[in-house]
């Protein structure tokens, strides 16, 4: 059966009292943005959203809607006239192409002037289906299929399936965070989980040419493009980190280079976040995964800034992170072997318990503040959008 209408449920949003209107407006805006290149009509009501689309776009619409945060579930709906015979006809038509053994009918009567009450509607529709099918019975407790009927004045909506949405909050309602992205497996996942909670993200990437390659930077852009499937758009800030990194190598004891480098990255990220009105930093650190991610390291590194740092995957096992990376389609890109600036100068034996005082001592040996300011005044900006065309697109 061909469909051309979707009914969207807002879900978790309903608990949000005063903010509700802002949440729904943001959600509607995000949905419209996501479907902007298709012929659709998006209608927002108090407890539902309806999307009218062209039949041929059905698969594409479902695919895209499953990537909009803030949607708990949605259904493909058929519209019958608000008149019992037509409701019965459409209901039968809908179930006749499904394979199932048991079913029930659930009705809601929003249009109170409709002559039948909800229970009566369910009974009539159920009886009509039973009469016109074989080997099918009613089971009100655990049916294979639930036929939902919503009687409204302008038309009666029928649906049989709930398609799961991405959950979470609409991106944007929670403010903005600055995602530190290296190109590995963890940071895109951290970005995804942050977006899921309704926080829009910008991204910061540290490049040290010629020690790091263009390919490493392009990889980051590819990853963000994939993430932008879940966000209206993402601005990437590329920091030219070469001079800073060379100073660190020159003035800092090898065992502390990595820790000092991370402290510099945090300072720069905080500086950028303040300029861009981002309230938090976000990164893909996972407790104990590498030397810079022991609790002692995190403590020493984070002590240089005052902005909260959110680490969505801090408590995840690597395998759990990989599962999400595969789900959001960033894994294959993340495992491409390009060195980023976290790996390029990595000393053989970094400190896993770096003392703050030691780091502070090494940091007195060069004028890092000037270098931080230089990095911040020389930022390259790229805007990444989910529907951006790529040069190679026409090959496909």
């Amino acid at each position: 059966m061909k469909y051309s209408k979707i009914l969207v449920r807002y879900g978790e949003l309903t608990t949000k009292g005063k903010n509700r209107k802002m949440f729904i407006n943001t959600l509607t805006k995000n949905v419209k943005r996501k479907l902007s290149d298709l012929e659709v009509k998006v209608t927002q009501t108090r407890d539902r959203m309806y999307i009218d689309f062209e039949e041929k776009d059905q698969d594409e619409i479902i695919n895209r809607m499953q990537k909009v945060f803030g949607l708990v579930s949605f259904s493909l709906v058929q519209v019958a006239q608000t008149e019992i015979e037509d409701i019965k006809r459409v209901a039968l038509e809908m179930v006749s192409e499904l394979k199932f053994k048991t079913f029930k009918v659930e009705s809601r009567r929003n249009f109170k002037a409709f002559p039948l009450q909800s229970m009566q509607i369910s009974r009539e529709v159920g009886a009509h289906i039973l009469r016109n099918t074989e080997d099918i019975t009613v089971d009100v407790h655990t049916p294979d299929v639930t036929v939902s009927v919503e009687v409204r004045k302008e038309g009666t909506y029928l649906f049989v399936e709930n398609i799961k949405g991405a959950g979470g909050y609409p991106v944007g309602v929670g403010g903005k965070g600055m995602l530190m992205i290296s190109g590995g497996i963890d940071s895109p996942v951290a970005g995804y989980l942050t977006l899921k909670r309704g926080v829009a993200i910008e991204a910061i990437h540290f490049a040290s040419p010629p020690h790091t390659s263009d390919a490493a930077r392009e990889k980051v852009e590819t990853l963000l493009k994939k993430l932008s499937d879940y966000a209206p758009s993402i601005t990437l800030h590329v920091i030219h980190f070469t001079t800073m990194q060379e100073h660190i190598v020159k003035y800092v004891d090898p065992a502390f280079q990595m820790t000092v480098m991370r402290r510099m990255m945090y300072r720069i990220t905080e500086g950028l976040a303040e300029k861009r009105n981002n309230l938090i930093l976000v990164n893909g650190e996972s407790i104990g995964q590498v030397a810079s991610q022991t609790l002692r390291s995190m403590h020493t590194i984070e002590s240089v800034i005052n902005t909260p740092v959110i680490r969505p995957v801090a408590t995840y096992d690597k395998n759990e992170i990989i599962d999400i990376a595969k789900k959001i389609d960033t894994y294959e890109t993340s495992i491409l072997p390009f060195e980023d600036c976290c790996t390029i100068f990595l000393p053989k034996n970094p400190q896993t318990a770096p003392k703050k005082e030691k780091c502070e001592f090494f940091e007195t040996k060069f004028d890092y503040q000037t270098l931080v300011d230089e990095c911040l005044s020389n930022v390259e900006r790229v805007r990444i959008e989910f529907d951006q065309k790529e040069e190679t697109d026409d090959l496909f």
């Binding site: 390919a215 389609d329 294959e332 496909f396």
Partner: protein
């Protein structure tokens, strides 16, 4: 010239050729190389996989590029049987498979000590879930049934077979989708398929390229040993250009499938109706559950090779059975599985259609068919 052998191979489309040439010329680096050109080539390979995964509704790590369906069939069947032989040594396939499936099973039987059950289709040319279920033994580990038969065009009920195999969790299900992609609807997920084979040159892509679909939970013994390309399953530098070309061919095939199907159905019906009026002519393509892309018939007393040559002289190109079968022996294993009539079995002629065929060519096709049948029958 009217080409009517599209089930054997198709002309690559201009769009596919364009991509192939551009990628071959501009992204020639080894897609495993570290430098920029290598990584650009690798990104194209990833994009190609992503696009195919999206169109086939599978995961991207479930796809592997091969040199064609023959290789994909061999990789799946032998790779699976050899990997999991400790679980059981009984395999099930059918008498109507393409040689690259059938012979792979023969080899497992002859050299590796497997026991293989070859199912015979019913009178409608179909393999059903009941057939398969009746053949299952305790030590069965693999079932391979093609979706659309390449000689007669029958469509097996892969959906029901997959459904039934859900009850037998030890058994993997392989399906040769070579003649269905872009023609007949399928869903590897809904059909509960574990492994599937696809060829590019049947859908206006290039020869020498194809795909294996394999669920991540299944491991295969690689047939080629070597580098770690494609997850170690298929060693060897593969052609980035072929991957991109295949991705484009798959997209076009699936986007135009509905429209082309309706058109080809008309062609098929027109020619079939004409043939049905002729004496001593048997249509081998079943009445129901068939792909309109294939029309197979036998004419008693006419040697197919002679008929093909006569038609070829008139500028119309047909075939007998699979081009991958030995041409000397025309006797069709597939048709032998649906009839006992030796004359029908040894005289198969296959017309395979395409949306490229023009409506005005139909008259000419049926006229020449009629003319040559009459002429040769007289001898």
């Amino acid at each position: 010239m009217i080409y009517l052998d599209y089930a054997a191979s198709t002309p690559p489309s201009a769009e596919v050729m364009e991509s192939f040439l551009k990628v071959s010329n501009e992204y020639y680096a080894n897609n495993g190389a570290v430098h920029k050109l290598g990584s650009d080539a690798h990104s194209l390979y990833i994009k190609a996989k992503e696009q195919i995964a999206r169109f086939l509704k599978v995961e991207i790590d479930e796809l592997f590029f091969t040199s064609g369906a023959t290789e994909a069939n061999n990789m799946a069947i032998k790779g699976f049987a050899l990997k999991y032989q400790s679980r059981g040594k009984h395999l099930i396939t059918t008498m109507m498979e393409h040689p690259s499936v059938y012979e792979a099973f023969k080899q497992l039987e002859e050299y590796f000590g497997f026991e293989v059950t070859y199912l015979t289709p019913d009178e409608n040319g179909l393999i059903t879930a009941d057939h398969v279920e009746a053949a299952i033994k305790k030590d069965t580990i693999l079932v391979s049934v093609m979706h659309v038969n390449n000689e007669i065009g029958s469509i097996n009920d892969v959906y029901s077979i997959g459904e039934m195999l859900k009850q037998h969790r030890k058994i993997a299900f392989h399906v040769d989708l070579t003649q269905s992609i872009g023609k007949i609807d399928f869903s590897v997920k809904k059909m509960n398929i574990d492994m599937a084979s696809i060829s590019s040159h049947k859908i206006y892509g290039l020869k020498g390229s194809g795909l294996l679909y394999k669920k991540s939970s299944i491991e295969l013994l690689p047939l080629f040993s070597g580098g770690k390309q494609q997850g170690g399953l298929r060693a060897g530098t593969f052609s980035t250009a072929a991957c991109v070309a295949t991705a484009k061919a798959v997209r076009i095939a699936l986007q135009t499938q509905q429209e082309n199907y309706q058109y080809v159905l008309k062609l098929h019906q027109f020619v079939k109706e004409k043939l049905q009026t002729m004496d001593k002519l048997t249509i081998n393509t079943p009445e129901d559950n068939y792909s309109p892309y294939i029309l197979n018939f036998s004419v008693k007393n006419i040697k197919p090779e002679t008929f093909l040559r006569a038609m070829s002289e008139d500028g119309i190109y047909l075939s007998t059975k699979s081009a991958c079968s030995k041409t000397r022996n025309i006797r069709s294993r597939v048709i032998a599985s649906i009839t006992d009539d030796e004359e029908v079995i040894s005289t198969p002629i296959r017309i395979s259609f395409s949306h490229h065929i023009k409506l005005h060519e139909l008259e000419q096709i049926v006229n020449k068919l009629e003319k040559n049948i009459m002429k040769l029958r007289g001898i």
